[in-house]
Amino acid sequence: MTAAPSAAPVAGRTTTRAGRSGSVAWMALPALAIFVVFGVVPLAGVLLLSFAQWDGLGSIHTAGLSNWRSVLSDPGLPHSLFVTFEIMILSWAVQTPISLLLGVFLAGRQRYRALLAVLYFVPLLLSSAAIAITYKALLDPNFGLGAGLHLDFLAQDWLGKSNLALGVVIFVVSWQFIPFHSLIYQAGVRQIPATMYEAASIDGADRLQQFFSITVPQLKYTIITSSTLMVVGSLTFFDLIFVLTAGGPGDATRVLALDMYKRGFQANLMGPASVIAVLLVLIGLGLALLLRRLGGSTTASQQEGV
């Protein structure tokens, strides 16, 4: 519904943009330079290392495809992939509805909502490592929250049972990032013209109908943006999981990023670690592209359909 009418205005605008582009293209230079130096060059280094044997200390020897063969045949890899996607999907499924609802709620102009918005924002201000250490202390089965409050159901082996540990990771990740995504949704909701809601009320639509028929469709691109950030971001969850569970118990929460770190910096196998790094880049790129496709042409603004 938005795609058809949007085609014409987009074409029109590109022409005007093209006319001015000669003078502004240089503005991309600093960003591009930084991207090349800190993004592309290390990436090329990692790609080369994935075909080499290096323990981080001695000299680097070429190893051909042996790293790729050993990593791809390692049963740990499908497991790490599975855990990565498990955390990605579950944390998305938890964060999206809550952030959406909170964002809609916070978009209201009442003063108490502004106050709550500030409070909700607090977890985002804390560093992941600090959050992880705090949760680890709170979840200690013998000296933590359960023991302190004398609530037996809180005194579980939170980080020692595979399923519980995974749940804890998803909970803490959501707790940390929901404020950020709420903020995105809040901004998105405030962009929706009030006239649409007025028209809907005149037509007799109640709050719930307005939410599903106006708010959610109007937030389509906001949802895609937020989901892209969540999905691609979840590939890089490292600090939090590393401090909270260190990938354990066993390998229950060993996501790809952690697997890479453990191979590279704990087992001193930089070659295989680089293979995983390359895989991470490929998966991240693939997912970002996929989400762009799902959202149609993202150059079209969501206001275009109005």
Partner: protein, 449 residues
């Protein structure tokens, strides 16, 4: 659309050249320092990185202060790290040529990887010149400092065997005696559980804590040869019948609820495992001798009122191991970076010979409840006035000195790659998610790596 893409291409072509220039600048920094000029991260004198954690930290700080006060011209700069952070930081720093002049470590496999990469100085001839210093140190401490017949590190600090600690009050509550054999341990488990006391405390999330159990069971059941074969790289040595038996016994204890509920969520870094023992929530704990100091300071009157008991790990009925054997850290080790300047190396050597095992250091170690790696430690024991400390120190000294075999901790003895695989599999074994056979199979795969 077309225009902007062309613009983009023009732009990338231009910036590629610029990026190449930038990249050259970026990489020239670390590359321009091969060998001679810089030893430490700063390149302005000798540096020394070591671990935080009391009482060791204060003793190390005092050693450096004494050295710097006595040698105003050559100052030693220090940086302190938390244990696990240090293990990773030091490897990365050395690999990047940014390591300290004095490299603190546990010897064994980690030291060997530095030696293989030519990162540490051969100290054999230096020790020959300083025979008196060499002879003052426990001979058993040199094993983990020696690679291919050459000494690459000086044993410093303390000898810390792993021992079985117990809470005497907990034993009084169930009216039982401390275990004299593995069978006794298994018998005690239900008795403690019935009284709501966990038989054993364990900081299982740290993984090496679990490993200490296997070190003892392997030794007591099959003798010290079992791990020696693994260390020597003999194929399939993890599936030695004694090894499999030890792994089975381990899982038997776990299945019988021998460890505190939720042990996989507990870390050793926070000392929560020690707290479980001194608060009486757990009756026993297998842990390093280094925990004594903290239990004394943090445990209220637990140590001072004599509630802490300790013993060497008991024998396993029918086992081949010598009950006097112990495992743990025969010492801590200081190596000198081969990439340091000659002046920095000389400062580091002077520090090693004058300030690490001098009288003041030995005194301080003994006072903190540790046995330093020098033979003279025995003479100091009589000067300890605190009866608890005196008894403890005598026990540690006897355990170390009388051990027929003092095996190094596995994760330190093996190469980093094999150690990581080991810790990983141990965590799974303790979770009961793999069987002893699966453990042996996957560990056999990393032998000699």
């Amino acid at each position: 659309m077309m225009t902007s893409r062309r613009n983009f291409l023009r732009l990338t072509a231009g910036s590629a050249a610029m990026a190449a220039g930038l990249a050259a600048c970026g990489s020239s920094g670390p590359k321009s320092t091969p060998g001679s000029t810089t030893g430490g991260a700063t390149g302005t004198g000798a540096t020394y990185w070591f671990l935080t954690g009391q009482p060791q930290q204060a003793i190390r700080e005092a050693q450096v202060k004494r050295f710097n006060d006595a040698n105003s011209g050559t100052q030693l700069k220090t940086t302190e790290f938390q244990n696990d952070a240090f293990k990773q930081k030091i490897k990365t720093a050395i690999g990047a040529g940014q390591g300290p002049t004095l490299i603190w470590g546990w010897g064994g496999g980690g030291l060997k990887s530095y030696v293989d990469a030519n990162q540490v100085e051969d100290l054999t001839s230096w020790f020959d010149q300083n025979a008196e210093l060499k002879n003052s140190i426990f001979p058993s401490a040199f094993g983990a400092a020696t690679v291919g017949g050459k000494i690459y590190a000086m044993p410093v600090e303390t000898t810390t065997p792993i021992v079985l600690f117990y809470n005497k009050t907990a034993f009084e509550k169930i009216g039982a005696e401390p275990p004299k054999s593995w069978g006794d341990i298994l018998d005690l488990v239900p008795k403690f559980n019935d009284k709501g006391i966990a038989p054993f405390s364990l900081g299982g999330q740290s993984r090496w804590t679990n490993m200490m159990w296997l070190e003892f069971l392997f030794d007591r059941i099959g003798g010290s040869e079992v791990f020696q074969n693994i260390f020597d790289g003999k194929p399939n040595s993890w599936s030695d019948p004694s090894a499999l038996k030890a792994l089975e016994e381990m899982q038997k204890l776990i299945k019988a609820n021998g460890f505190i509920k939720g042990f996989s969520s507990i870390t050793a870094d926070s000392n929560a495992d020690q707290a479980l023992l001194f608060t009486g929530k757990a009756a026993m704990m297998v842990h390093g001798a280094w925990t004594y100091g903290n239990m004394k300071t943090s445990g209220g009157k637990f140590v001072t009122d004599g509630h802490l008991g300790y013993m060497n790990f008991p024998p396993v009925d029918g086992g081949k191991g010598d009950p006097s054997d112990t495992v743990g850290n025969p010492g801590q080790y200081l190596s000198i970076s081969s990439k340091a300047s000659q002046a920095d190396k000389d400062v580091a050597k002077k520090f090693l010979s004058t300030s690490t095992l001098d009288d003041a250091s030995v005194d301080a170690w003994v006072k903190s409840g540790n046995i330093p790696v020098v033979k003279s430690a025995k003479d100091k024991l009589s000067s300890v006035t605190d009866t608890n400390d005196a008894e403890w120190l005598k026990f540690v000294y006897d355990t170390s000195a009388n051990a027929r075999n003092f095996a190094q901790s596995w994760d330190q003895a093996l190469s980093p790659a094999a150690a990581e695989a080991l810790l990983d599999n141990i965590a799974k074994l303790f979770q009961l998610s793999i069987s002893p056979q699966q453990f042996a199979d996957s560990m056999n795969g990393v032998i000699g790596k």
